[in-house]
Subunit: 152 residues, 2 copies
């Protein structure tokens, strides 16, 4: 199933946290479990919170979690409002995921998910170590960057 | 209001990410806004997601957000199940917050909140740069660390 050249191109792509993030969402869009797991650090302490789900910890459980997600097919997700806080070895990205799916009535539904993605620079390139997604909302809440409106 | 010795002790306390995390929850328990803001990096890219709320970005907005939280008084929060992924300069902690409050009927209510806390080592010690909390749940969901049970 896997073309060895894919693995090479995947490795090359993880030279920045942005590359790794792009691979993460590309894997979601293609329900590509191998690509997804290549994005993550191979570490028993990686952790993933899917929207509304429990915390999933370690490569075996994270893999099983995405396998379950991908059993439903590709996830139509794009990201918006990417905010980055980066150092030489660590990157924290805050994104809003726009997820679209057709419901049982054939209607296109859209949900917005706030997610925090954390990447570390490793000897295998930038790898994801944490993904924390809040439950989806029906609308895209704007970030609060000024004191005004925090409570409203 | 502020004893200068407190500032010294606060600075000394941030020598590890665990110290900084302890200060974060201590500030919550005492509704201490100055201590809370001492925990955070002084950076326009820090980001905080309170349970069920929007993303709050930057020191000014984060401060205003906690000021609003603390206007209701101390937050009775303790943390459980702390998981740590740490490097020399970056720490990612996954915690479950147990939050207790008395409702309008005088009943003690307990909620469990999954949170991801990210810390960076700075010249001013370990500082929080991200806090992402999911909406509270009525029960403490165990972490999934084995493939079995991911979907159940």
């Amino acid at each position: 199933m896997t073309d060895p050249r894919d693995k090479v191109s995947q490795a090359v792509l993880l030279t920045t946290a942005d590359d790794t993030e792009a691979s993460f969402y590309d894997a979601m869009q293609h329900a590509d479990l191998e690509r997804m797991m290549h994005v993550w650090a191979d570490d028993e302490d990686i952790a993933c919170v899917h929207p509304g789900g429990p915390r999933v910890v370690g490569t075996v459980a994270v893999r099983a979690g995405f396998e379950a997600v991908f059993s439903g097919g590709p996830v139509h997700v794009t990201i918006e409002h990417v905010r980055r806080m980066e150092t030489a070895v660590c990157a924290v990205h805050h994104v809003t995921e726009k997820v679209q799916a057709v419901d049982a009535k054939g209607q296109l539904q859209t949900a917005f998910v706030m997610a925090t993605n954390v990447y570390l620079r490793t000897s295998q390139g930038w790898r994801m170590v944490a993904h924390h997604a809040s439950p989806g909302m029906g609308q895209d809440l704007p970030d609060i960057t000024e004191p005004r409106g925090v409570l409203h």
